[in-house]
């Protein structure tokens, strides 16, 4: 049996990759992908702990989270489309009309 720490390290690594992408990229699509990575890192945690405790509830939550992620992507893509339509670009740093 693979020890739980490995899963957690994997999860932390995936989360950090996602966070790195979020902080450094300017392309909104890459933003969305980064967010997906972070979400999946959390999902890995859920499944890992579920496996560790021998309780299936966490895995069920994992399934729900995937469905949620799909919905989130739909909304995110929609936002990106609108962003493109309004600013002719998907660069998130260009859309600064909501500043002070």
């Amino acid at each position: 049996m693979v020890p739980a720490q490995y899963y957690l390290i994997l999860s932390a690594a995936v989360f950090c990759i996602g966070l790195f992408g979020l902080l450094t990229r300017r392309n909104a699509l890459l933003f969305l992908m980064s967010v997906e990575l972070m979400l999946n890192a959390a999902n890995i945690n859920l499944v890992a702990f579920s496996y560790y405790w021998g309780n299936v509830t966490g895995q069920t939550f994992g399934l729900f989270t995937m469905a949620l992620a799909a919905a989130e992507v739909a909304v995110g893509i929609g936002i990106i489309l609108v962003l493109y339509r309004n600013f002719d670009d998907v660069d998130v740093t260009k859309a600064t009309t909501m500043r002070w």
Binding site: L23, A95, T97, R99
Partner: protein
């Protein structure tokens, strides 16, 4: 007559109705609403007479009509009616004078083609109703409310000719000066409620009775500021007295009254004789059971009264305008009433209140008649010789003047003499303050005789001194009839209470007013008051001797004053003898610079203090508030910079925040230890 007292509220409501009618429909009515007022006051007068008769028969009425604020574990605030001999007498006086003033106004205002008559008659109606409400009030708070209404109406009527410069300013002055006194009165009302938990004048929880029992040690009441009961009652009495001094135009709050002459003359008659100015003295008489308990307050009342009587009389000596002379005589006469009350002469003061109402209303209406004749010129130096031209006015005016000067047997003699007599015997009984007040009152008798007859001789005798005086404007029945009624009353009203005659000749039972004011609630009758007052009596040569000496001295002084006026002014071409007084005349003519020093107090003392307070308010209080807001504004303008609109920055801030939070939690939780 059973049940006639049940109609007492109508006495108050009828003039109020006429106020509503004149206000709402006066424009469409003939005479501008005067008839409604005349009808209402006539009805009130008849009811008041019926009430008076019923009260003479021993009936009294003390009923709460309406509770407008019910207190839980606290006092109820109510409107109620208290009809006892004092209020019954006052009801008759007020309704009679109001009725005559309404009739006279037909001649003074309508025949003169004045505009704004509905407003005028509405004011008269409300004025009468407020005064009547004040008279029948059964508790101090209701009295205060109607007291204020009376003040409001006087403001409206004094400022009736608001398009000219003088009247609005005089109206404002009357309002503000009396309001200054009323401010103390209001605190006094609250103090009475706080002390006794009741402000009723009569009944089981009447506050004068509670005060009396508290002083006798039967139960305790709340006192404040760590004072004993006696001291605290004195404070409360003086607070209420503030309102009295303002309304009854006593020194130093008398300055509004001469200026109030700017109003129409019938209004002056109403203000001086029956309403407004009478309200102050009536209030002291109404709660005399309370004042009689505090010797200090009584002494102050007597001193203020005596001083005002003399002080105002000296100013009346030099005035040029007929209404000004009358104004100062009013202040002086109300001084006598205060003197009488302060000296323990409850019946004497009430008596003077009654006779003064008749002869002062008469004098003002007479002056009004003269002013009509003179085409609204009030300067006595332009008059003269009006005696032949207007005999009715002359003889009525003469009757009033004899009463005012206190010449036997006219009304004023009896009442003024009784006031002075009471002061004298109580002063001789061991009160030097009363003797001082008596001396001032006595001296004022001389001045009163002088200025009254100076006015009569200048106005009616000698040669006419102007074109209008040679051809005066005629007056009609509506002016003459009220004058005739009041002329008879001024001559005879004193006969109801001939105490000197009774005492000198031993005729028992002709002091009708004494007997009348004795028949009442136990706590409200003259007999009870006589037991309460803290004075003892002293006599020179027995009671009859003192009466004779007192009457002879005051009559002698009045005659001396009148005689001096006769010598100086009853000549065809009188000259201004008062010029010989030199600088004294200037001081008198300028009213002892009372107005000037009061204006100085306002601008020289109060204004700088207000300015400092304004600085404090604007600088410190507003500074703190503004400081807080400008700090918020400044911080906000800096903090908002983080709202850059760049999503990446927000994400970075989120991450940093989360990290900082985790680090903080870790440090506190000791993860790194």
């Amino acid at each position: 007559m059973a049940g006639i007292l049940e109609f007492a509220p109508a006495i108050v409501l009828l003039p109020f109705l006429s106020f509503l009618i004149a206000l709402g429909a006066g424009r469409y009515m003939p005479k501008g609403g005067a008839l409604a007022g005349i009808g209402a006051t006539a009805g009130s007068f008849l009811l008041a007479v019926a009430t008076f008769v019923a009260v003479s028969g021993g009936q009294t009425y003390n009923q709460t009509i309406y509770t407008w604020a019910e207190g839980l574990d606290a006092v109820d605030l109510t409107f109620g009616l208290l009809i006892d001999p004092l209020s019954a007498m006052m009801l008759v006086i007020v309704t009679l004078i109001a009725f005559l003033v309404h009739v006279f106004s037909l001649g003074y205002m309508n025949d003169d083609g004045q505009t704004g008559l509905p407003r005028y008659y509405a004011g008269l109606g409300l004025f009468t109703a407020s005064m009547l409400g004040f008279v029948v009030a059964d508790n101090l708070l209701m009295a205060f409310m109607f007291f204020e209404l009376v003040g409001l109406c006087s403001y409206l009527l004094i400022g009736f000719w608001f398009r000219q410069d003088g009247p609005p300013s005089a109206a404002k002055k009357a309002f503000l000066v009396t309001r200054f006194g009323d401010y103390f009165f209001l605190i006094g009302v609250v103090a009475v409620f706080a002390t006794f938990g009741s402000a009723a004048f009569a009944g089981p929880d009447a506050f004068p009775v509670l005060a009396e029992e508290a002083l006798a040690g039967e139960h305790s009441v709340n006192t404040f500021l760590g004072m004993g009961e006696q001291a605290w009652f004195t404070v409360v009495g003086l607070l209420v007295l503030g309102g009295v001094v303002g309304k009854s135009a006593q020194f130093p709050l008398h300055t509004w009254l001469p200026d109030a002459m700017e109003g129409p003359t019938p209004v002056s008659a109403l203000i001086h004789a029956a309403t407004m100015v009478a309200a102050g003295v009536y209030l002291v008489a109404r709660m005399y059971g309370f004042y009689a308990l505090t010797p200090t307050t009584l002494a102050i009342i007597a001193l203020i009264g005596g001083f005002t009587a003399l002080f105002a009389a000296t100013m009346g000596v030099v005035k040029k305008e007929i209404k000004q002379v009358l104004a100062y005589s009013t202040i002086s006469q109300y001084g006598y009433m205060m003197l009488g009350l302060g000296a323990g002469g409850y019946v004497a003061a009430t008596f003077h209140l009654m006779t003064h109402a008749f002869f002062k209303a008469l004098l003002f209406l007479g002056a009004g008649s003269v002013i009509i004749a003179m085409h609204h010129n009030e300067n006595m130096w332009d008059m003269g010789g009006l005696k032949e031209k207007m005999p009715v006015t002359y003889y009525a005016f003469l009757s009033g003047s004899l009463a005012l000067a206190g010449i036997v047997p006219f009304a004023g003699f009896w009442s003024k003499d009784e006031v002075l007599y009471e002061t004298l015997i109580h002063g001789l009984g061991g009160s030097p303050i009363l003797l001082a007040a008596y001396a001032m009152g006595l001296l004022a008798v001389f001045f009163t005789g002088f200025y009254t007859f100076r006015m009569v001789f200048l106005t009616f005798h000698g040669e006419p001194r102007s074109e209008t005086a040679r051809n005066p404007h005629g007056v009609r029945w509506n002016v003459k009839a009220p004058l005739a009624v009041l002329g008879v009353l001024a001559a005879t009203a004193g006969l109801v209470n001939m105490v000197p005659v009774e005492k000198l000749f031993g005729i028992k039972g002709i002091d009708f007013l004494h007997q009348f004011l004795d028949g009442s609630f136990d706590s409200l009758n003259a007999h009870h008051y006589a037991e309460l007052i803290p004075y003892s009596s002293g006599y020179i040569g027995g009671e009859a001797g003192t009466v004779a000496i007192g009457a002879a001295v005051s009559l002698g002084l009045a005659l001396a004053g009148a005689g001096l006026a006769y010598v100086l002014y009853n000549v065809p071409e009188p000259v201004e003898h008062t010029e010989k007084l030199g600088s004294i005349k200037t001081v008198l003519y300028n009213n002892y610079y009372q107005d000037e020093y009061q204006v100085w107090i306002a601008t020289g003392v109060v204004q700088p203090i207000s300015r400092v307070l304004d600085k404090f308010d604007q600088g410190v209080v507003d500074g703190v508030v503004n400081g807080v807001s400008s700090v918020s504004l400044f911080l906000g303008s800096r903090m908002r910079r983080i709202q850059s609109g760049v999503v990446s920055n927000y994400a970075a801030l989120l991450t940093l925040g989360l990290t900082a939070l985790l680090l903080g939690l870790g440090l506190i939780g000791g993860w790194f230890a």
